[in-house]
Amino acid sequence: MRQVGRLLVIGMVLLSMNVIARGGQSVSDKQTVLVPVQNDPTISFRIWFRAGSQNDPAGKEGLAFVTASMLTEGATTSRSYEEVLAALYPLAADYRSQTHVEQTIIAGRVHKDNLDKFYPLFTDAILHPAFEREDLDRIKSQTLNYLQNSLRYSSDEELGKAALYHFLYQGTPYGHEPYGTVQSIESIALEDVRAFYQRYYTEPNVVIGVGGGYQSSLVQRLQQDLGQLPDHTVQQPGPPQPRPIHGKQVLLVEKEANATAISIGFPIDILRGSREWYALALANSWFGEHRNSSSHLYQVIREDRGLNYGDYSYIERYPNGGSRTKPPQNVSLRRQLFEIWIRPVPNDTRHFVLRATVRELQRMVEHGLSEEDFEITRQFFSKYVLHYAPTTMARLGYALDDVFYHVDGSHLENLRTITPDLTREEVNRAIRKYLQFENMKIAIVTPDAESFKEALISDEPSPIQYSTPKSEEVLDEDKLIMEYPLHIKAADVRIVPVEEMFEE
């Protein structure tokens, strides 16, 4: 589908030229974020509406996602969807939507040569959607196919992560994924979409983002045009307050599979912008830098033992991690989580790997980073962040997120300037303050869940057999891992057949 994970977002450098413009005229009193790059022959747009899955009405989960899709994959009042596609085609440009929990972005990129033809199509999509029934039918069908087939059956690791988020935030506005559930998507009608659009696609609720080689008149024109949106304000729900987690609570998603996917998480009460956040980010980089062999977990589980393809951790949500190597933009949350992602391991090692993972987390919490690990990671992370946003589109995304998080200055700049300045003490203090190893939720996609439940509850040793030789050091450590106590109670383990996941 055009929405999830297909935004024009890749990597990064740093940003200095973003200007948060708040004009005083009637059309410029809304927030505008600019990333001018005069020698860029393209122009990037990110139009941010403060609406996401947290705003979905009960029973209509997925409505924010479907509504945004109707804008970017449907007809307008002046053109059918076919005509929209035909008009965009020769321009080598398009626009897409990205709906996450708190944000919806309508993003587009075009070469300057084609701006005059692109602009009316782009603004027409936002301002004048037709909300045709056949477009809704198509979008609902694609979403249902994603839920019923792709998510449940074609990627166990994405399934595991989605199950974790659902498990972690249940009972809060964060408690469902942007694409909703089978029953809620089926229930969405055109009047629901219209009502959501009218309520949330308003002038006070939009932040305009423009980057690249644009002229200032373009910004004024866009402000003026989006000024046509209704002017009522929107009441947003407060940040979620997930129920405290006591002990290790386990959700086993029963599914026939030749490997087991594991996701672990717990909420953390820290957001980007503070110096402590950057200290925690450095710690996380050591423990589990995404898709990077420098990750400690990766070294323990993959490099030393060859048990899977990779093992990572996060202090911010990181959707579609399997298909990107650098952090996404505009998936901001007011309540973040610490998350561990263990890529699929052989089923007969699932208990062992879970133990190894929690044990490593405990070791980090109790001992922090050694001087050597800290120093190497500081060097690594200080340079690695330079790759986060090499494109205008990515930098524009970061600049919008600076508005979301009320970052003083620029997050990209902070990464570059604060990281080299951190001390080991700060990093280890942040670990002790925000991370722990006793209270967490664990989502596991695995076959034969009942026997795994028994093994977890009994805390019985989980010896491991390797098909290839391992060093004495590894084998000695294995003896400790195989008996590492997880202390999981029977009442804290729930088994759900995969067919029931995201059903209602």
């Binding site: 450098v13 022959p41 085609y89 059956y153 690791e157 420098s294 690594f380 090499p390």
Partner: protein, 445 residues
């Protein structure tokens, strides 16, 4: 470094490109190509991206080169083994050095090549060249490390196997090819991956034959001084001993009849239809591939009649698309669709056949053709905005042809295409006798 310097962008020259003008070159950057005495070719593309350099080591060996039975998957395995280090810099030392560089590095393997890539700050160019040249010349790993890495590869296979498209590509490759090594996908046959732990000695021979300077092209893009870069490459790669041995790949005999297979997928999925025809090898001296790419978009792209009919109007499919990958030897031209109801599989298949027949017999609308040429060229250029994007977009062209010049040839060919050219390739490559069809069905509830 100053902020403004750091934040500059690389795409100044793009602004000067006018689509369809008289300029011969489409590729917007100047570049230099050099070859060392030992056969190593390196291509330097300076860009105005202060501080950032992308360094791609392209080994012109992929799963295509795995011609010995029972040894599929080794090109990909080496993508992993190459991170195990050398005597000079053992794996943990190599890891630590690369970690300190803060480089954005990884590797990937395809049917035709293996690519090791790093993006880093320009001050680190010499250290990167030293490390990269060392592991390409002096890779050293023991049996235990080798066997551990085979476990990670099997993990990768298991991870991918849950995806219905992985199953589909395995099956269509197996169905379409009898002799050529494109019969297996890049990750290899599962039985071969399972047997890898016992193939330590073979792995050494694989490395000796293919990881040689004549078979490698370095693509260095970004904030570089070409004179200094040349000196560095000469210094660190000049003593690499040649000795490449070409793989003995069997030529695929002509296919003399349509083939089809119904495949059961263990998970749930809507039916997926893959119709694949035998295509040409990608070469710079023929414009067939440019014509095929245009045909694929015109016939099955988002603006095609078939897409509008099946996706938007009738809503019988989730998507329909053409995937015509450029390959070193004759590969497959796929038309793929996910169909909402099993009852419509035959209907969709027939519409794909009918569409191809129409393009054989009716010239395309010249205006549509011109629009598509513009789209393809703009689309290519707009993606050349960072060193890594430039290198990524060039890597396959470099791997298949050995250089960058083919890019201009390709897009010039595209600009010259006529409706008659499109009809000719439709007739030439979409014959029933070279057709292969896979219908992948999900498990029933």
């Amino acid at each position: 470094m100053g902020k403004l310097k750091t934040y500059g962008l690389a795409i100044l020259t793009l602004g000067a490109i006018m689509i369809g003008n008289a300029r011969a070159e489409i590729f917007p950057y100047t570049y230099q190509t050099h070859t060392l005495d030992n056969g190593l070719k390196y291509i330097m593309i300076p860009m105005e991206t202060p501080d950032l350099v992308s360094y791609f080591s392209i080994v012109r060996t992929g799963s295509r080169d795995e011609y010995e039975p029972g040894h599929s998957g080794f090109a990909h395995l080496f993508e992993h083994i190459m991170f195990r280090g050398t005597k000079n810099f053992p794996g943990d030392v190599y890891d630590e050095m690369v970690t300190r560089l803060g480089a954005d590095g990884n590797a990937y393997t395809t049917d035709d090549y293996t690519c090791y890539h790093m993006t880093f700050t320009s001050d680190d160019l010499e250290e990167v060249a030293m490390l990269e040249s060392d592991r390409f010349q002096n890779l050293d790993y023991d049996k235990a490390e080798f066997q551990t890495e085979t476990g990670a590869v099997y993990g990768e296979y298991r991870k991918g196997r849950t995806n219905p498209y992985s199953v589909m590509f395995e099956e269509i490759s197996d169905l379409a090819f009898d002799k050529h090594t494109y019969r297996h996908t890049t990750i290899g046959f599962e039985k071969d991956i399972k047997a890898m732990p016992q193939m330590y000695d073979y792995s050494k021979s694989f490395f000796r034959r293919y990881y040689r300077p004549e078979n490698v092209v370095l693509l260095i893009v970004g904030d570089i001084n070409t004179g200094r870069t040349s000196s560095i490459i000469q210094q660190y790669y000049g003593n690499w001993t040649p000795g490449y041995q070409s793989p003995q790949i069997q030529t695929e005999p002509p296919q003399h009849g349509a083939r089809s297979r119904v495949v059961q997928y263990n998970g749930r999925t809507l039916p997926i239809l893959d119709i694949a025809y035998k295509g040409p090898a990608f070469t710079a001296d023929k414009k067939d591939f440019a014509a095929l790419e245009v045909l694929g978009e015109l016939a099955f792209g988002e603006n095609s009649d078939l897409y509008k009919r099946l996706v938007i109007q009738e809503q019988k499919v989730e998507f329909v698309t053409a995937s015509f990958q450029k390959t070193r030897d004759p590969g497959l031209l796929h038309v793929i669709s996910m169909i909402r109801s099993e009852d419509d599989v035959d209907y969709v298949r027939q519409l794909v056949f009918d569409t191809l027949e129409r393009y054989k017999n009716q010239p395309v609308d010249p205006e549509k053709l011109q629009e598509l040429k513009s789209r393809e060229t703009y689309g290519f250029l707009m993606n050349l905005d960072t060193p890594s994007n430039v290198a990524n977009n060039l890597a396959r062209y470099v791997a298949l042809s050995g250089g960058v010049g083919v890019v201009d040839v390709y897009f010039q060919d595209m600009q010259r295409l006529t409706p008659e050219d499109i009809m000719q390739v439709a007739k030439k490559y979409f014959a029933e006798q070279s057709r292969n069809v896979i219908i992948l069905e999900g498990a029933q509830e």
